[in-house]
Symmetry: C2
Subunit: 146 residues, 2 copies
C-alpha cells in the first residue's frame, strides 16, 4: 500500500481530519529519505508554504510515527529525529562521534541473537535500538599510530 494512502487510512480510522497542512507536511517528509528533526522539516515545509506552523509539523510527525510511517531516532544529542519506517527494512546505526556521519547497519544474526536474549529473560520484544559510536574512515585517517 502506498505510504500516503496508509496515512490517510490511519487518519480516518482515528476519526482525524485530512487537512491541507498535514498533506503538505507528509508529502515533503515522504519525499525526503533522510533523518529529519522537527525544526529541519519545519524549515523545508516553510519554504513552500508560509502558513504552516511549527506546532503542526511537530504534531504531524507524531502522527506519522503513530501510523507506522516513521520512527523516532535518538542519538542522544537531545534532538529527536524521524526516519522513514514504512516500506523500509529495520536497521541500526553506526555513528561517527567526530563528524556525526552515520551508516545504517543490519545483521540477521545480530537480530536473532537479540531475540534469544529477550526470550531467555521472559520478556516479549517490542523494539530495540542499537547505536554504535566510533570513528569513521575519513575522520580516522592518519590516526593509525597513537
Amino acid at each position: 500500500m502506498d505510504a500516503k494512502v496508509k496515512f490517510n487510512k490511519f487518519l480516518i480510522n482515528k476519526g482525524l481530519r485530512q487537512t491541507k497542512q498535514r498533506d503538505e507536511i507528509v508529502n515533503v517528509f515522504l519525499r525526503l529519505e533522510r533523518h529529519l528533526s522537527t525544526q529541519e522539516l519545519f524549515d523545508i515545509v516553510r519554504k513552500k508554504d508560509k502558513d504552516v506552523g511549527y506546532a503542526t509539523v511537530a504534531r504531524t510527525l507524531k502522527l506519522l510515527a503513530e501510523s507506522g510511517l516513521c520512527r523516532v531516532v535518538d542519538f542522544g544529542d537531545g534532538v529527536q529525529r524521524f526516519e522513514h519506517k514504512y516500506g523500509h527494512e529495520h536497521h541500526d546505526h553506526l555513528i561517527c562521534s567526530k563528524c556525526g556521519k552515520f551508516v545504517e547497519i543490519y545483521s540477521k544474526k545480530l537480530e536473532k541473537l537479540q531475540e534469544e536474549l529477550v526470550r531467555k529473560h521472559g520478556y516479549t520484544q517490542e523494539y530495540h535500538k542499537l547505536d554504535i559510536f566510533g570513528i569513521c574512515p575519513r575522520c580516522g585517517k592518519g590516526k593509525q599510530v597513537v
Copy 2:
C-alpha cells in the same frame, strides 16, 4: 585499583581539587549500585549534608563519567542516568515499556558480531548502546491470548 583512588588520581591529573563536596558525592554514588539521575543522587546526598548544591552534584557526575567511573544511561525518557562502570562488565539493557523494570544483558557473541559489523564499514568502535524494549514477565501475565 580502588574506585575512589582512581577518581582522586583523575582529579590530580587534571589539576582539579579534592573537596568535601566531591568526596561526599562520590562516596554516596559508589555505595549505591543503581542507575541514578542527577536529581536522585542530589536528594540522597542532601539528606546527609544540606550544604551540597544541585549544580555540584551535576558537575561531579560529569567528572565521574570523564574519569571512567560511571557512564551515562539514556533510555530516551529525557533524563540522563548514571551507572557504575569502573570494575563492572559492559552490558546492555532490556527494558519493560510498561513498568520500566529492566535487566542487564550481555552476550559475548552479540558483542563480537557488532565488532565485525563496525570493522566491515571501516569504522573504529568506541562504544555502543543497545536498548531492547519489551514487556516483562510480570506485565505480560494473562496477555498470552490477544
